[in-house]
């Protein structure tokens, strides 16, 4: 595997980890809201948003890098 693809693979590992953590926090948030424990549910909801944005930021950075490589003169 080329160094570049290995770098891409690591990035997707990190994205997957963020999405896993987002899902875990989402489940905990749902349970807290069902139990009427609203502040704890809200805190976990914030954590979900943070992990989703982190994953999105990693994907955006990779997309920008690929765009740069495919159009080096741009």
């Amino acid at each position: 595997v080329s160094e570049r693809f290995e770098r891409d693979a690591r990035l997707y590992d990190e994205v997957a980890a963020d999405l896993d953590r987002a899902a875990a926090h989402a489940r905990v948030a749902a349970q807290h809201f069902r139990d009427g424990v609203v502040p704890r549910g809200a805190a976990h909801a914030w954590a979900v948003r943070g992990h989703l944005l982190e994953a999105q930021a990693r994907l955006d950075a990779q997309a920008r890098e690929h765009a740069r490589l495919s159009s080096p003169e741009a």
Binding site: V37, P39, R40, A42, R49, G50, L53, E54
Partner: protein, 230 residues
Amino acid sequence: MHLGTVPYGEAWDLQRSLAGAVSQGAIPDTVLFLEHPPVVTLGRRTDEDAELHLPAGAPVEVVETDRGGKSTFHGPGQLVCYPIVDLKRHGRDVKLYVRNLEEALIQTVAPFGLQGERLEGLTGVWLTSPPRKLASIGVHVSRWVTTHGYALNVDLDPAPFTDWITACGLEDATFTTVAREAGREVTVDEVRPHAVAAIEAVFGLELEELPADEGAGLWAQPVHHELAAT
């Protein structure tokens, strides 16, 4: 955010995720106020052989953490404060941050007629004389975003600090509480507004209580504005 009583593991996991969100600007600086069920936590400098002497069957969880400092005890009746703030906005100075937490604690206990003090070479807030430890501090900073924070003994039996562990690695230290020193019953609910005000004053923050029954809703106002604009 006032989270009520939260198991240590859940609170730690939450802090780490919120720190990531604060780090990338997805949410504003966030301060968690909570209590823990009984738990002994070990810091990065804990000497387990010297500090842990838990009796067999003690009803307490033991957790190894990534915060600075040595061992400590948390339990109901102790106000725990975990500020998750980006130090790039607050001076980029970890020692200053810890001094600011001490200052916030000193301001928090003043309305109860207590004069909190710093002791040379020791972290935390004390009463003198003789020295009695009122609050402990242990922090972790990653990418300039803070986790962990302080624990203020409001009204709990301080025996676990000495009977179960050698808290903070301090032999012969005495631990006390706001209630004991004030000579009356004091609750965490009574102390929390003072703690919020002190954090706001020391760090120049305007904390919004979330989630609010009316108005603010689930998300902080900056997030609301951002979503409303899309």
